[in-house]
Amino acid sequence: MSALRGIQLNKSYRHYQVLKEVSFDVAPGECYALFGPNGAGKTTLLKILATLQTPSSGRFEVMGLDGIRDRNQVRGILLMIAHGSYLYGELDAVENLRFALGLRGLSPADREIKIALDRVGIGAFADFKIRYFSEGMKKRLSIAKAMLIRPKVLLMDEPYSSLDERGMKIMNQFIRESTQQGAAVLMTSHNRAQSAEVAVKAGVLHQGVLHEIDVKELVAAHELF
């Protein structure tokens, strides 16, 4: 069975076809890494899968559910970590976590929250307003959120951006754990080296078309596109 499956997805903006017949398949416990030049349509694809945009044609399935028809159920399965941190500036780190979890009907114990914050290395900033967080700290808080939600399908748009080297290690550690527990991960990236550490499948999106490539090529190839 596949956890996340795209079937001939197309997407056009007014003047421009961004995605052309994109099909792919990510099984539970797999991590799929997506590459491509700027403006290739990676973010667009992720937004479609996150039910934020509709494809012009084609469809996709999440844990066997239709991504468009059953989108309300799909939303409960998916979690996206993107460029935006989805955090509120005036709330502190713990309050932001509580809010995000509350929307999903979860209310973890203080101790659980504390552990998650410590694991991503920002335990000391638990009661800092997000307004004073640096980009890297926000990204780490997003990891903590994902740790607490434990989604079955994780979408990540450039997970390594704005993280320093220790931060990237934490991120990969988290991805490895999630896949071990059976989650499917789809990430876009410009960082071949880091992605190669966790990905078991890879693809390049170029001029709207998705080409699957061997993960070994990620490190070996001189140029991907």
Binding site: G136, M137, D164, R166, G167
Partner: protein
């Protein structure tokens, strides 16, 4: 400079307290009631000092702002900031006492009179000034923008002062003007005493507040240096 403030501010406070105590006694008990306003006139001994100190406070704020833009001395900015905060208090006081005075004399708490409105605008500018400062993160920029606002806002100052001359309306005209002094001696003395007391208190409050803002800034800088050591 902060040392100087430290050293003298208490004297201002004490002297101001004494002046106001004596002034209140003379004004409320010892002076004669007014020819046609009767006992009500006694509010004057509070209203007029409140009003003139608030005007002075704005004036001082403008001067400090100019000085800051010229010399960029952060303490001067603290002083301007302090004066604004204290100024809001005195301005509100003048409005409040004026309002109370208005009820028996004009038979209304409030009327759309040129002085009243221009003075209310002064209050709004002061509050806007304080709000502006809370919305800027960068200390230096905060000081600069606040100074600019204070200077542009100072255009309202002459309007308040001369409004009673330019628009002849309900409010009392200037009693001390080029045309002479229009007030009885027995009322003048307590009024002068009260005014002196208010000015001293104004100085005292500005001093205390300036110090507070200055120390707060020191503390933040210190915290900054400590936080600079904390890294992920």
């Amino acid at each position: 400079m902060i040392r100087m403030i430290r050293k003298y501010e208490d004297w201002f406070g004490v002297a101001g307290g004494i002046c106001i105590a004596v002034g209140l006694y003379l004004g409320l008990a010892a002076s004669p009631p007014d020819y046609y306003q009767g006992e009500v006139v006694r509010i004057m001994y509070i209203h007029v000092p409140f009003a003139s100190t608030s005007m002075t406070a704005y004036f001082v704020m403008t001067a400090a702002s100019l000085w800051y833009l010229w010399k960029r001395n952060p303490i001067v900015d603290n002083m301007a900031h302090a004066t604004a905060g204290v100024g809001v208090f005195f301005t509100a006081g003048a409005l409040f006492t004026g309002s109370i005075w208005g009820k028996p004399t004009w038979n209304t708490w409030w009327t759309w009179d040129a002085r009243l409105v221009s003075f209310t605008i002064l209050l709004l500018i002061l509050i806007g000034y304080l709000m502006l400062r809370t919305f800027i993160e960068d200390k230096e920029r905060e000081a600069r923008y606040a100074a600019v606002l204070a200077i542009v806002g100072a255009v309202d100052l002459p309007i308040v002062h001369f409004s009673v001359e330019w628009w002849r309306t309900l409010h009392q005209p200037l009693s001390v003007s080029p045309r002479g002094i229009a007030i009885a001696g027995a009322m003048l003395f307590p009024l002068i005493l009260m005014s002196a007391g208010f000015y001293l208190i104004l100085t005292y409050m500005v001093g205390v507040r300036t110090q507070m803002l200055y120390l707060q800034q020191l503390l933040e800088a210190k915290k900054g240096r400590l936080l600079g050591e904390v890294h992920l």
